[in-house]
């Protein structure tokens, strides 16, 4: 009996260690989540303003001839997938990657019909394991990414569309609803949605011309959308990690309680047995 008890004791110790770690990770994720949310909010004025101006140019007069507003027949689709560098975030990466993989399998027969650009180590490793070539990748982003960090991959994707390498560009990321709900979404980034563009129209003068302004603004706008998706993805990552680690801590607590109960039972059984043996020994001597 004593041996079994020692094992239970060791197992309790190890669960306590795990619990400490998950608890710490939960708290770290909670504070990073707050910062990520603030960053997402801080980026909103820029995106909103850009959308407003783009919308007012695109809706005014017949200037929506710009290639980024026109859908063309699709020969090659690009997917820009936003994942995290680190795991232990529940279903965060698995959900989005499964969604992308299923879409690819459903819609494309050969590898020539799509290209994958990925942000985050988890996504990169996932596609590498499946022998899916990556057109571009970025890993090791900080927890509060800067616009310049994603500029390269975003403009590579947008330029690919402009040059006709891709005919469609999809953005896959986890949409942040609240700290416990994140929904994986696949959104079409390019060509830009015309309905979104029909905003309030205001009469501006454009210098040098509306077409020129639009051709400067549209790529910027698409890049900005990538950046705000990334910020949202970050917020989702910390939300997912916080929830996952919260659950892990709860489970560890429960296991420790169960094991402690078993341990105490075994201890009592051992004592009872000892007493019984002593009593038995004493009565045998009489």
């Amino acid at each position: 009996m004593a041996k079994g008890m020692r094992e239970i004791k060791r197992s309790i110790k190890s669960k306590q260690n795990t619990k400490q770690i998950t608890k710490a990770m939960e708290m770290v994720a909670a504070s990073k989540l707050r910062r990520a949310q603030e960053a997402a909010v801080a980026s909103r004025p820029y995106t909103d303003k850009l959308r407003e101006v783009v919308a007012s140019i695109a809706s005014g007069s017949g200037n929506s001839k710009h290639p980024m507003l026109q859908s063309r027949s699709v020969k090659r689709t690009a997917y820009l997938v936003i994942t995290s560098d680190r795991g232990l975030a529940g279903g965060y990466n698995a959900n989005i990657l499964r969604k992308v993989l299923m879409t690819i399998r459903e819609n494309h027969q050969s590898a020539d019909e799509y290209a994958v650009l990925v942000i985050g180590r988890k996504g990169r490793d996932f596609f590498k394991r499946r022998n899916i070539a990556l057109a571009d990748e970025i890993t090791g982003l900080s927890d509060s990414p800067k616009f310049s960090d994603v500029k390269q991959i975003a403009s590579a994707a947008v330029k690919g569309y402009e040059d006709g390498v891709y005919d469609e560009l999809y953005l896959a990321y986890n949409e942040f609803h609240n700290a416990i709900t994140q929904v994986p979404v696949l959104k079409r980034l390019l060509p830009l949605n015309q309905e979104q563009m029909s905003g309030a129209k205001s009469d501006y003068e454009y210098e040098p011309s509306p077409e020129d302004v639009l051709s400067v603004l549209l790529p910027r706008y698409a890049e900005t959308l990538v950046f705000s998706a990334l910020l949202e993805g970050k917020a989702s990552e910390f939300g997912a990690r916080m929830t996952a680690m919260g659950n892990a801590t709860k489970n560890a607590t429960k296991m420790i309680a169960d094991l402690t109960l078993t341990y105490n039972r075994a201890r009592q059984a051992a004592i009872t047995q000892e007493i019984a043996e002593i009593v038995g020994g004493a009565s045998a001597q009489q």
Partner: protein, 132 residues
């Protein structure tokens, strides 16, 4: 003296927000001075300092590209990066300038040259604002 509100916004934050008397910028088609009650206007900007006149004082902000939206009583500048003089890392800008000059001197492919040219402009813009 009437004023207009100048806002400079980057994807990360709002860099500048003040009531000013006049804004002087360098647009792609030339230099522009915006006074209150200007006609609504949108124009892309060059990588250059933006000057904000408040009374008799001038404030300079390094704005790296982007574009400007003018309304009656408000000017919004959206740029991928913008810095006040006090936020500029002078030694970093100087290094960037040297690096860009070296690259330009080496005469690489067009694309690299273009990138180096832009980097050089940004660095000079920063140094300008920081008063170096």
């Amino acid at each position: 003296m009437s004023t207009l509100r100048l806002e400079i916004v980057t994807p990360e934050r709002k860099v500048y927000e003040k009531d000013v008397n006049m804004v002087v910028v360098k647009g792609v088609a030339g230099e522009l001075g915006i006074l209150p009650n200007h006609i609504p206007l949108v124009t892309p900007l060059k990588i250059a300092p933006v000057k904000a006149k408040i009374g008799n004082n001038d404030e300079f902000i390094a704005v790296h590209g982007g574009f400007m939206e003018v309304r009656k009583d408000k000017v919004v500048i959206l740029a991928e990066a913008a810095e006040l003089g006090s936020d500029i890392d002078v030694s970093r800008a100087r290094l960037a300038k040297e690096r860009a000059e070296r690259r330009l001197a080496q005469k690489q492919s067009d694309y690299d040259a273009e990138r180096a040219e832009l980097a050089l402009q940004r660095a000079m813009n920063r140094l300008d604002i920081a008063g170096e």
